[in-house]
């Protein structure tokens, strides 16, 4: 296993008979992923493009040895879908669904953690390792196998940046879209050790956003533990303040959470920080060059 997914990954798609589920099950298979099952309650015995559909995740795992779940179930039912996957023994769940209330996600996160299941997302593009497997919705066209890892809180901005890395003639080891919701299953700090330990990753691109302190926490981890070159970008430098959250929200992050504090923390940790997305590929090339010298 490289970072979380590899050729042994066997995916069950929850909500496979819905439009997004069907489209992306197809795309995952095109990428070379073993999509072994789908789950839609009440649709057992049918199939989606040859992928067998089951009524429950337990049935799917029993019959197909699925070991990763990709969840497209609509927000009101997503919590139940995730808890079901955890109870069926799935230890990697990518939650693509957007608009899940964070109160639901709090329950999902702590329950999954207590059972040893990792959640990626929600509201995320998922994970992909070119030449190995993809669990999620990142467009296949942006990838090329290589040695640059990517972790991001954004969706489409990640595609843009991964695509830029490919156009530079470089490729990716693993790309994880963590999702930008207030509560995420896997944060930068959770993902960084995976890339540090991954022998197939030589450099890491980290794409952050304003709000919260995930980037500052990541910077602290990088400073102390991360030995590979890091190129970072923070979106939202020009965003006006105050369009979110009230008083109590502001005081948790006192003096943190702005683009300036994030950039400063990352630079202090030795990361190369791009001012604009289009600077990233060049900085990655430079970082790789100096790392090899």
């Amino acid at each position: 296993m490289t970072v979380l997914v590899d050729k042994e990954t066997r995916v069950v798609v929850q909500g496979i008979t819905g439009h997004q589920g069907t489209v992306h099950a197809h795309q995952m298979r095109q990428f070379g992923t073993a999509v072994v099952a789908g789950v839609t309650p009440g649709k057992a015995g049918t199939d989606v493009e040859g992928v067998p559909v089951f009524d429950s995740v337990r049935d799917a795992v029993g019959r197909t040895q699925a070991n990763a779940a990709c969840i497209f179930v609509p927000a009101p039912y997503a919590k139940d879908a995730l808890l079901e996957a955890v109870d069926a023994g799935i230890r990697l769940c990518v939650v693509v669904t957007e608009h899940i209330p964070f109160h639901d996600m709090l329950v999902m996160y702590h329950y999954a953690k207590s059972k040893g299941t990792r959640i990626i997302g929600p509201n995320c593009p998922g994970i992909a390792s070119p030449g190995k497997a993809k669990v999620g919705i990142i467009p296949n066209v942006v990838f090329h196998p290589g040695r640059v890892g990517v972790i991001s809180r954004s969706g489409t901005l990640t595609y843009e940046i991964v695509s830029g890395i490919k156009e530079m003639g470089l490729g990716q080891s693993t790309c994880i879209g963590l999702g930008g919701d207030p509560v995420v299953g896997t944060s930068f700090v959770d993902a960084l050790p995976l890339f540090q330990a991954d022998p197939e990753t030589d450099a890491l691109v980290m794409v952050g956003e304003i709000g919260g302190t995930a980037e500052e926490d990541a910077a602290e981890y990088i400073r102390q533990h991360f030995t590979k070159p890091v190129v970072a970008y923070i979106a939202g430098r020009s965003a006006p303040p105050g369009k979110r959250m009230g008083h109590a929200g502001a005081i948790i992050t006192r003096g943190k959470g702005t683009a300036e504090t994030k950039v400063a923390a990352l630079e202090a940790a030795g990361a190369r920080v791009a001012r604009f997305p289009y600077e990233i590929p060049r900085l990655v090339a430079e970082a790789l060059g100096s790392a090899h010298r």
Binding site: H110, S152, T156, R237
Partner: protein, 377 residues
């Protein structure tokens, strides 16, 4: 997010048993006077503007009255206010209590710990941002056991309470926790929480409800908020739409890409005026609606920056072409497009047929949008 006005927050509090001053809402000076005369609001009373912005006390939006005539005059004066850009539509009249001390408690989310966060301070009645860190206590509350007795005892100690006040706090914190959880709140804040006699009373209420939970809270759908009219329409159509001060409209997909686009425009000397995030859609109708909404904001130029994933470039192009047909001639604007990713070729071709060139380079296309906005009279 849905920000509740004080009186709306207090009606939620009442449901959960939070102790409140006796009070009523009035929408006219006459109504205010009647409420006092009928005894529904005891004298002396306080008359407070129901607006979302803070700092009402200093801004003349809170007044006191000891007669029905004074209550009427206070209500009339406050209802004539426009407080920090917000028109005052309601006043809350409440009995004036003999306050011994003012405290602070709130419940919100700690994103890093992924847990609810209970914040308390003995320094209530002032903006919490102005209170020194050392005087603010924060403890996370694990959602699984929920709020425990020992956590509540810690708050009592922080607030310096003893005797019957500890029991009053115990019940109040349970209510706060229940509001936070059951109402899907992002923030529940009581500031000030007043010591009155041997009990606690919530003098103010700040409640913010999470939008994503609207499927189980239809009761908040009608709540007036501080959104602009266009932002309200966008909300109904599930399009993320924020109005800023500049004149360039930005349509992108995904919050990160949208913000990055604003950053680039600003760096190149442009001033973004509207931020519209299409999100993930493969419905051309939604794209058309988004464009028509953008047209109503009257931008000097519009920069369309799409990276196709779930959203396909040809879907966006089709929706855009349809919108251009529908936009009235006096609302037309120069359009600079950059569409990349899934079905890029098809999308680019559809746009070309409609006379719009997609420029793949981000910097070059952003520069074109800035130049177009500048040259528009």
């Amino acid at each position: 997010m849905v920000k509740l006005a004080e009186w709306q927050g207090k009606s939620v509090f009442r449901k959960y048993g939070v102790p409140l001053p006796r009070g009523e809402v009035a929408r006219s000076a006459e109504e205010a006077e009647t409420l006092v005369r009928s005894g529904a609001v005891p004298l002396p009373c306080v008359v407070k503007a129901q607006v979302l912005a803070g700092g009402r006390g200093k801004g003349g939006a809170v007044r006191f009255a000891s007669t029905a005539e004074e209550a009427r005059a206070a209500a009339a004066a406050i209802l004539a206010l426009e407080f920090k850009g917000e028109k005052v539509r309601e006043v809350l009249l409440e009995e004036k209590l003999a306050i011994v001390r003012e405290l602070y408690v709130s419940m919100t989310l700690d994103r890093t710990q992924r847990m609810p966060l209970l914040i308390s301070s003995a320094r209530g009645g002032v903006e919490i941002e102005s209170v020194a860190d050392a005087e603010i206590d924060r403890q996370t509350v694990d959602p699984f056991p929920g709020l425990t007795s020992y956590e509540k005892r810690r708050v009592a100690k922080v607030l310096g309470l003893s005797g019957p006040l500890v029991r009053s706090l115990d019940r109040l914190l349970d209510s706060l926790w229940n509001v936070f959880q059951h109402e899907d709140a992002e923030l529940v804040e009581i500031n000030p929480l007043a010591v009155v006699g041997d009990g606690l009373v919530a003098l103010d209420a700040k409640v913010i409800i999470e939008d994503d939970a609207s499927f189980r809270h239809p009761e908040y759908a009608e709540v007036r908020d501080d959104r602009t009219e266009l932002e309200e329409i966008a909300r109904e159509k599930e399009i993320a739409f924020v109005q800023l001060d500049g004149n360039i409209g930005v349509i992108a997909n995904g919050a990160g890409l949208t913000m990055a686009t604003l950053d680039v425009l600003k760096e190149l000397g442009g001033a973004p005026g509207v931020f519209l995030d299409l999100g993930g859609t493969d419905d051309p109708k939604k794209v058309t609606e988004a464009f028509l909404l953008m047209a109503r904001a009257k931008p000097a130029s519009v920069f369309l920056n799409i990276f196709g994933g779930v959203t396909r470039c040809d879907t966006v192009a089709k929706g855009l072409v349809e919108a251009m047909r529908q936009v009235p001639s006096d609302e037309r604007f120069p359009l600079i497009a950059r569409i990349r990713g899934n079905n890029e070729k098809e999308g680019t071709e559809i746009l070309r047929a409609a006379g719009v060139t997609s420029v793949p380079d981000l910097r070059a296309s952003a520069q074109a949008a800035v130049d177009a906005a500048r040259s528009k009279p």
